[in-house]
């Protein structure tokens, strides 16, 4: 029973973090059909900014975080204007350009930041115990931030003008243009939000798992899987799939060991796609 609870708690928390990063991917995909491969690098760069501001400059985490969000947004919009827009957001070319940019950024980061893994100290150290299951307070904080931001994203999309414009573009591109919405502006907002989510993800990963140039690659791969299981472009699907993958990871990892978990994850992905080709909540692409 304790084991089951431990598995659940572990899975929920990691699921929420994955979800956070995947939301940025799905947002962009929903709105402009672009799979942003640089997203993982935004996570990584944001973590380095948090490290620089928080550890090296000694300023509080709550100042470092917005700084990272701003920096990630600038890089993301830079990528949009310089890489994706010139390609008319054509999916395959954007994918490849993203891979190239990601290579270059990662490689440059190794050269700049050096070989040592760095760490951002926990904002609240310590462990919480309930009913025999353990969880670090920092993880609970991370989970809280993820939930808060997801709710904020939902409210933004449904109750603000730019949010509604984004949904309009997502649902019917042509109609949105007729309504006087300028897609390019909506894209910028989407990139900024997506980057901000990535930055928060990076800050959280940095405090939990340390900072290094490769830290964005694994979460990116994970978020691809989540986004696909949830259905490309579906926020609700991404939330559910994030939690789902978090918990399956936790179950397979705990019961069968890390190695097998890796195969099982992908097997689940394939199975879901065979049964529901567009994912849980996806629409035709």
């Amino acid at each position: 029973m304790t084991l089951a609870l431990q598995i659940l708690v572990t899975g929920l928390v990691t699921g929420l973090i994955y979800m956070m990063i995947a939301l940025g991917v799905t947002l962009l995909f929903g709105i402009m059909r672009v799979v942003n491969f640089v997203h993982g690098e935004l996570v990584m760069l944001a973590a380095f900014v948090v490290f620089a501001v928080n550890v090296q400059l000694g300023l509080p985490f709550w100042i470092a975080l917005p700084a990272a969000m701003v920096m990630a947004s600038v890089v993301a919009v830079g990528c949009q204007k310089l890489l994706f827009k010139p390609l008319n957001y054509e999916i395959l070319n954007c994918f490849i350009v993203g891979i190239g940019a990601s290579f270059a950024i990662k490689s440059a980061s190794w050269a700049i930041f050096g070989p040592e893994p760095l760490a951002i100290p926990a904002t609240i150290p310590g462990v919480v115990t309930f009913a025999g299951a353990f969880v670090a307070k920092q993880r609970l904080l991370a989970a809280g931030i993820c939930i808060a931001l997801t709710v904020a994203l939902f409210l933004f999309l449904h109750f603000t003008r730019p949010g509604k414009a984004m949904r309009a573009v997502e649902q019917d591109h042509e109609a949105a243009i007729l309504m006087g919405i300028v897609p390019e502006n909506v894209y910028v907002i989407a990139f900024v939000i997506s980057a901000a989510l990535a930055a928060v993800g990076g800050a959280i990963l940095g405090t939990l798992f340390g900072v290094d140039p490769e830290m964005g690659s694994d979460p990116l791969l994970k978020s691809f899987i989540i986004v696909q299981i949830g259905g490309m472009g579906s926020i609700a699907g991404t939330v559910l799939a994030g939690l789902f993958i978090g918990i399956t990871d936790s179950i397979t990892g705990t019961l069968f060991g890390g190695e097998l978990a890796f195969i099982i994850d992908f097997a689940i992905l394939m199975a879901i796609l065979v049964v529901r080709p567009r994912g849980l909540f996806g629409y035709d692409v």
Partner: protein, 323 residues
Amino acid sequence: MTSRTGIVLGIVLLALLPVVIRDEYFLHVMVMIEINVVMAVSLWLLGITGLISFGQAGFMFIGAMTTALLMKLGGWSFWVSLPLSAIMAAVVSAPVGRLSLRVKGVYFFLITLAFGEVVRGVFAYFEHPFGGWYGIRDIPPPSPAAIFTGMGKMPFYYLGLMLMLVTCAVIYRISRSWFGSVLWNIRESDVLAGSIGVDVPGFKLVAFIGSAFFSGLAGSFYATYIGYISPLVFTFEYSTNTLIFVVVGGFANIGGPIVGAVLLTLVSEGFRSIGKYQSMAFGLILVASVLLMPTGLIGAAQGWRERSQRRRRAVVPAADRQG
């Protein structure tokens, strides 16, 4: 026909290359190019059907593993293992294709990616007979040993050259046959192709299997050439690299994947001496090439030629873009 003369001349030059340049490293790079070309061209066969796979290394791995097991454990000859490996990759690809072709677009990207990782995971998990993370080492070279162990890389160069030429020739024939033209139609519009009686899932599946077949071939050759395979080799990055060859080269004709594989392998090799900046340079070149030539080198070359022809004729077709 000048193009035919050009091809014959090219083949003759390639055949003479090791005689002119007796440099083992150069020959090794050429062998890697041959393998990359086979992979890129096999992926291109999917590309002309409008499909993009991120799991091509998975089929390569299956081919390589089949050869490794047959030759090392079974003591079989390479010449038997080679076709069997390609067939094994094709056999595995049939059910995989059946299932994965139910999804389209980005979903297909990712399901193939997942497949590649599952292949790696399975080979890594089962130490017997696949060798686990150790992989399989000391895979023997082809027979006769006198030629393949005693003469350096030259025999491998010729073997690879043969495989490359055969693969290119067959896939070129396919792309120019009626069958191939149907694949192009599917790439243009699979809905329309279906409405006029094309069994779209069937054609896609055949292209998928064919593509896996040639990837298996490349894997088999890789195994006997390098002599060592492991899950560290046939990674997602390897699949991605293959795709990059095709995209940078262009889809428009078979020259695309060939030029892409050759150029990028050489570029990457050329930057090797800059050590830690090699990956950075490769990434930047990739970005620049896609931005400057979104339809690939071949597309850019065609566009350039068309523009110059048009300028010569000074005829501008009145294209009506409504509807």
